[in-house]
Symmetry: C2
Subunit: 682 residues, 2 copies
Amino acid sequence: MLSRLKSSLVLVLALVGTAALAAPAVELKSPDGRLSIAVSLDRDGRASYSVSRLGKPLIAPSSLGFLLADAPKLDRGFALESRTAATEHDERWEQPWGEQQFIRNRYKELDLVLREQEGLQRRLGLRLRAYDDGVALRYLFPEQPNLKQVQIGEELTEFNIASPGTAWWNTAFEWDREEYLYKRTPIEQVGLAQTPMTLRMADGVHLALHEAALVDYAGMNLVRVEDRRLKAQLTPGSGGQPKVVRTAPFATPWRMIQIADSAARLAESRLMLNLNEPNALGDVSWFKPMKYVGIWWEMHQNLSTWSSGPTHGATTANALRHIDFAARHGFGGVLIEGWNKGWDGNWVADSHKFSFTEPYADFDLERITAYASSKGVQLIGHHETGANAANYERQLGPALDLYARLGVGSIKTGYVADAAQAKVLGSDGVERYGWHEGQDMVRHHLKVVQEAAKRRIAINPHEPVKDTGLRRTYPNWISREGARGQEYNAWGSPGNPPEHEVNLVFTRLLSAPMDFTPGILAMKTQQPAGVVTTWAKQLALYVVIYSPIQMAADLLDNYEKHPLPFEFIKQVPVDWSETRVLNGEVGDYVTIARKQRGGEDWYLGAITDEHPRSLELKLDFLEPGARYRAHIYRDGPRANYTTAREDLVVERREVGSASRLVLRLAPGGGQAIRFEKLAGAR
Amino acid sequence: MLSRLKSSLVLVLALVGTAALAAPAVELKSPDGRLSIAVSLDRDGRASYSVSRLGKPLIAPSSLGFLLADAPKLDRGFALESRTAATEHDERWEQPWGEQQFIRNRYKELDLVLREQEGLQRRLGLRLRAYDDGVALRYLFPEQPNLKQVQIGEELTEFNIASPGTAWWNTAFEWDREEYLYKRTPIEQVGLAQTPMTLRMADGVHLALHEAALVDYAGMNLVRVEDRRLKAQLTPGSGGQPKVVRTAPFATPWRMIQIADSAARLAESRLMLNLNEPNALGDVSWFKPMKYVGIWWEMHQNLSTWSSGPTHGATTANALRHIDFAARHGFGGVLIEGWNKGWDGNWVADSHKFSFTEPYADFDLERITAYASSKGVQLIGHHETGANAANYERQLGPALDLYARLGVGSIKTGYVADAAQAKVLGSDGVERYGWHEGQDMVRHHLKVVQEAAKRRIAINPHEPVKDTGLRRTYPNWISREGARGQEYNAWGSPGNPPEHEVNLVFTRLLSAPMDFTPGILAMKTQQPAGVVTTWAKQLALYVVIYSPIQMAADLLDNYEKHPLPFEFIKQVPVDWSETRVLNGEVGDYVTIARKQRGGEDWYLGAITDEHPRSLELKLDFLEPGARYRAHIYRDGPRANYTTAREDLVVERREVGSASRLVLRLAPGGGQAIRFEKLAGAR
């Protein structure tokens, strides 16, 4: 054994995590001066970064670099070749639709370039950004003679959390990727995890680890190596290929650390959107946020089937009935699943049989879309692929053209398949097996969005690639699934527990819209527990879970039967000018107020886990001096997520910005409020 | 989203870990009936296995199967096609050298074949074995039309530990693979780990998770996904290739779970050897276990260098001096590092410059080996490769031929390089970057051993592939490193703490011999703490750590200066007929007694961590009625691993099998005893 090499390594390892590292090569502070991200080089020329808040370490020195499949690893022997001066940026940009109309994008940024001092003398760039609500870095692979094609075997980025805390996380590399219940553990018990992962430190500071702008790269997962040291594990390449293959120059996705003083502030952060590129599509006013109903829950309730035959759900008659209902109650869209040929076999093994242009014989697509148009309603398209992206891409042009011709403005896509069983069309044209978040599938999802945009169609993928804020750049990427939705309450074992949605707000939903499909009123389902929320909580979810398309997921009859709660579902908007997270703790409770875009009313949603809550609120988000009629949909005195879910009280009172409200949430309950601005009240 | 698929998955997940699984398809009990391994199929035809002891679950239902890079995954839709009846085997086999001469190999075995019921109808076999000291399974890929070449993307085997406990483990996928300090954590805090991993359950049952017979496959690491669920992560393929590429038929390595009632019984288990194939080399009496000295510690102490020039350690004069010393004191070998051209650059980046046939000009190889032979001493060869296996393989024939001609009977090889930076020659002849335990390097190590065997040369690799018991099949694979050895006490930061060797006994050393290089007497080194053991512990290590070659690692002068401890080092054997682990707790202390092969004496070594111990021993391992002179090398009254390491007391007393001894071990101390059988005492 060789002491020179071994000992230098050992010293390096010992130094990491202590203050004994060389002085930072580069440090960047946030505009408010509270956050700092620094990059250092040790005596072996290994780069690491660290993050602190008010001088206190949040991320201890953490590795940077890459294993390459066909070249020596890129992680040491570096010296700082150049750096730019830190520049400060402050702009305001407008979302065409969203949870907030105008977003401030204020940050400091600098680039640095490392160069190997020996051997291939390759260069690796880093771009650092510091915001008041977090920091981020991305790798830049410059054009250079000794690194043209980059075959990444693994990214070596680590997140070495500096102090103990609690983590909320979800397992990675499992079946359907994101559809698991979130876990709450000490950081030291994190296993193999997806991002975003949320951390609460002992002093109440909250972090979320995630990535932004995942384009033509593999999705990042985190594995805890030891202690609190988390390490990137990129999603494997399809067909046993390297995890990422790119040609320099290119930039990786941002590795992003959201940082906030509280859970509520974390949920208000727009860091991920700010890290993405501006709108690349121009005018997207052709997409209108909307609520919708659909032929969907009836299949989940085993009342009809996706497959053809006497139980087929997607019949012309059923479609027309839903269109009538939508028109009558002001819904913009009707989703119909199971309309196209391919549903009669094993959806995954026979996924190549899905046709995206041929309706079943009992589904008169032309008549249905014409009827919908005549009623001012849109058919919402549906493309289940069984994760056979290759089959879908071969049909993509005609399939989108068809919908475009018929006035279908948005499509729900689906990618049901087991782990690593997506059928992927590589950039070389070869069909391979791949993971849902491998580079080839990441490419596929963006391709669908781009092709759809050309036809003024919006995309809402289920079993999707994770959201990394690309809706800023491609605003027709309107929503997605990517977590356990309502359907688990139909047949899940177990269904979603009362804390599920409160977990989502501070984890999955940090990364943006989700097509959760709330609004179930018939709480008994196929599975014994049913929907374990109160009615008031189902209503509150329309405010709490942001999405520009929101389903009223229940059977139409149930809405007809229950006009009181339905009234709120009909009224609640899906597009907002402002959002305030009024309070909240991860997994416990949260209250969110949002102001209707293009209107003066505010809406509020509060939800809790299995524990009752009494939440005192100031209404200081309301316009000072104005008067509002609060339409309050609250848990009744007996309300409870197991025994009295339908105990809903609706009451009205007048309030102003100086008012206080006490929200009493039942176990598994919630509260939804419309603050209707009263004319001339000032 | 699609309920049929999603819901069936969710149900399956909910059932795993409960008793609600279908009745086992196959169950196999150990010969003593205490252990059981069972394979079950759920309603989706997914196979899992579970393990119990006395009816109590040890391993809860755990997944089986494979992701394939070029075909649908192989993990479900199975039915049991066939199974063999359980057969019982009971044999005794002899080790040509070892810690124990005769080993009983008693087990039950059965094979089963699963067949996919749809689609490709592929077959996957499983071979189960149940021993009294553990269970094991391996996958069998039969020859079949729809699975000829098998490209494994990942092995899906899990180890779902049924109840809480403590784990001793070491991180995987780090720098030099195995050279880290073992960690002790709750099972729920295991991260990304190598095997063997040792677990102690609340009831005192000990498990070790490892593999046996790693041949032409990738090494297995374990990642904790969540809770106590560990999952295989095979070492990646070189150059971004699939992790394993094989042609059916073939069998994977054994996945093995050693099970014992105590730490001591665990350390006595020979399960791994029993799972390997018998000796494939025939007579290997040409390898003689031996102790050796060498030109090695002086480089670690910065007194000389591997590289050439005025400080070069491997000079003819120095070699002759060591040969004289070895001959004078009865050592069989002299290791000399730095003798060959290639040491003057960066050993890793310039690893292609290593020549294995050209000595430096100041090292007269022919004269040295001739002189050694004349003195009855062997030169121990040295091949440092810088992990450039490709360069080594190109020179392998001539390099081994040279040593064979010169009478060199064993070679220490070395593979220093950073993670995934081994330069590997694939079976396709292409040179790639790879991990130390990827399939290509696994192939390389065995190739070196096989080529060496043809020339009657034994191999002792450092920075090796892990030991999986292949010394049974290839008894010229005599020892290896694969853990933090003594040299960390020369320059490590930190060095090896007092618990290190006690951890090794119950973790790394479960998997067999280690060339640890004990016997340092000059306890001050380059690093501030020095060697943090007492002298008595250094002596005890010769008994506690088994290896058929053991170094007296210190500078020759230090042995000349300290004849008292040196006496034990000269006397202690390196080949044994019996081994008894008399007591021990992982990481705390252990006492091992071994009987000299071909002699009547017993030797005993006891070591402790930083805590003093008083261990009462029965000597009932001694021959009843016989009398022994106990030569006791014990910690003196002031002995302590920080302040009085050299406080050694040597005393003699007569004992028999009915005697009791109380061993008093100092903090960081130990005790070494030779039980010299007295003639005619019966």
